[in-house]
């Protein structure tokens, strides 16, 4: 029974953890501008994150080594530092965006300007990082974040022309009113959002936090293989809602409040309330994940003591660095920058971090010194190499496309 509960919680967690403020807004932007024509990217991204999250979880469970230790150990200090710099910047930018996202959702609920909610959100995130046990933190945010299923419900209530939606999804072509460059820029942004490295840092470190052993591998695999695809399903539902309501109305999404419009239209105030609850939980969960990930990456690169299973005093540098990250994030928000814009620029740093993260995972998952007989199977290796190639191409194309399209404008 306890085991079953663990599986259920794990799945819920993965759903809640997959969708963050960046996914919420990017998927709605894409839906409102490209309809369903980029849904295939979400699929590709979900398969990729399943593959590598599962691999990093297996490395952590078998060898006890979290992903960034592996990165430093295999790539050495220089490439490791390049990855650390990029990943850390992504983390700080995402922390900033998520705290902004919590505040924006609270503004949507209350009408009070989001800037006033920022200190409150900051304090809440820090208190959880400081005091709350890992498993409780993960399960509560995951469970409440599940209320984002309201997007799927809303899509059904909107009674869309399913044939037309499927037609857009399978046409695999650039819509007439948008340029090919912008289409591919968003394709890479969606792919990067699905495969964002903090997910594997968090996943593998979480495996160490929860003391996973080889016998937990099955549970980890079920969590990954059900949770991430369900998260991807939510992403597509978000895009679907935007494609059904906003695209025909000539509205292209720029803010979180617009993401809520189709849900309110479909389900009224009740659906809106559930949506806001889900957004608060999802962004709060993501804020926790990214704050912890920035601590994990730094601590694992430099070999500091880390983890929420230790008292803060036993992981002093880890906790101090997370406090600094949170304060830095709020300092960025205080300049009045649009928190949603911040996530869009993190795609540039993903270009550096993605290959340098997934290559060492793939190498070490094949290393018998670490893995014993639990090394990668043939099929996983073939898929891993194919994905490494896709990641490399996406990375090389990301920055030129961003410049050419003015970040998708």
């Amino acid at each position: 029974m306890k085991r079953l509960l663990g599986v259920a919680l794990g799945i819920l967690t993965a759903i809640g953890g997959f969708v963050d403020i960046g996914d919420l807004v990017t998927n709605a932007v894409v839906g409102s501008r490209f309809g369903m024509s980029l849904a295939w990217v979400v699929l590709v991204g979900v398969v990729g994150i399943c593959l590598f999250a599962n691999m990093s979880g297996r490395v952590a469970a078998v060898s006890g080594r979290a992903t960034f230790e592996v990165i430093r150990e295999r790539l050495g200090p220089r490439a490791g530092l390049a990855n650390l710099g990029a990943s850390f910047l992504i983390n700080v930018m995402t922390v900033t965006a998520e705290i902004g996202g919590i505040a924006l959702a609270l503004q949507l609920a209350s009408g009070v300007s989001y800037m006033l909610w920022v200190p409150f959100a900051l304090l809440a995130v820090w208190l959880v990082v400081w005091r709350v046990k890992f498993s409780i933190m993960e399960n509560v945010t995951g469970l409440v974040g599940l209320s984002l299923v309201v997007f799927a419900v809303a899509l059904f209530l909107l009674k869309p022309d399913w044939g037309a939606l499927a037609g857009q999804a399978f046409a695999l072509s650039v819509p007439a009113q948008e340029g090919a460059g912008v289409y591919w820029y968003y394709a890479i942004a969606l792919f990067g959002a699905a495969m964002t490295p903090y997910e594997v840092f968090f996943f593998s470190s979480g495996a160490v936090e929860e003391g996973w052993k080889i016998k937990d591998l099955l549970q980890s695999r079920i969590n990954v293989l059900l949770g991430f695809p369900l998260g991807g399903f939510l992403s597509i539902a978000i895009a679907g809602c935007a494609a059904v309501v906003l695209l025909p109305a000539g509205i292209s999404v720029t803010s979180l409040s617009q993401v809520a419009l189709p849900v309110a239209q479909a389900g009224g105030q009740l659906a809106l309330a559930v949506l806001i609850l889900g957004v608060v939980a999802a962004t709060f969960g993501a804020a926790l994940e990214t704050t912890l990930s920035s601590g994990y990456t730094l601590a694992q690169f430099f070999g500091w003591s880390w983890g929420k299973f230790r008292r803060p005093a036993q992981a002093a540098r880890f906790h101090v660095s997370m406090i600094v990250v949170l304060l830095a994030g709020v300092a960025v928000l205080a300049t009045g920058v649009d928190p949603i814009l911040v996530t869009e620029y993190s795609v540039v740093f993903s270009a550096i971090a993605l290959p340098l993260t997934y290559l060492p995972i793939l190498v070490v998952a094949n290393d018998p010194q670490y893995m014993g007989k639990h090394v990668n199977g043939r099929a996983v290796n073939i898929a891993g190499v194919i994905y490494l190639f896709i990641i490399l191409v996406a990375s090389l194309a990301a920055i030129p496309l961003m410049i050419a399209t003015g970040a998708g404008a």
């Binding site: 009408g111 109305a249 617009q258």
Partner: protein, 158 residues
């Protein structure tokens, strides 16, 4: 392992980004230059209209709808700033720019009214006065939208 860090590539990338940002400014108000701000404003006013419609049918809360109006007001402001920065040289360009700014400003005004009406519309559909107010701003938003639409058609932006 070369004994020197690869700082040159980093600097080069940075310069490329910088130059791209610089060339983005100092455009002239052609139809192409107006396209993106006009589309942004058109999208913003439509989103606000939808929010007002939803509020009239009591599908959304006053807080959420007024937040939408407020966000859209911000979008229109940034689009207006963008058009202000365009430097018109010919008479034709000047006319086009001024028309766009006029359309934007009437939309801004309509959005402001919408936001105020939405913020005070706490009574919902049973609040007769609030409903009348909302219907009025709904009409105002529609007129402003049409003004922008006709300008966009004239300038050849679809």
């Amino acid at each position: 392992m070369s004994k020197f860090p690869r700082s040159r590539t980093v600097v080069l990338t940075f310069l490329v980004i910088l130059s791209a940002l610089l060339t983005g400014c100092s455009q002239r108000p052609s139809a192409e230059a107006l396209e993106s701000p006009a589309k942004e404003v058109s999208s913003a006013v439509r989103a606000a209209s939808l929010a007002v419609d939803l509020r009239i049918s009591d599908s959304t809360t006053a807080a959420a709808a007024s937040t939408t109006a407020d966000d859209m007001l911000g979008d229109v402001e940034s689009a207006t700033d963008h058009v202000h920065r365009l430097s018109a040289q010919t008479q034709e360009e000047r006319v086009l720019r001024n028309d766009a700014l006029a359309a934007f400003s009437s939309i801004s005004r309509a959005l402001l009214h919408a936001r105020d009406a939405l913020t005070s519309s706490s009574g919902g559909p049973n609040d007769g006065q609030g409903q009348t107010q909302l219907t009025t701003v709904q009409g105002e938003l529609r007129v402003a939208t049409e003004q922008l639409d006709s300008l966009m058609t004239k300038a050849g932006i679809q």
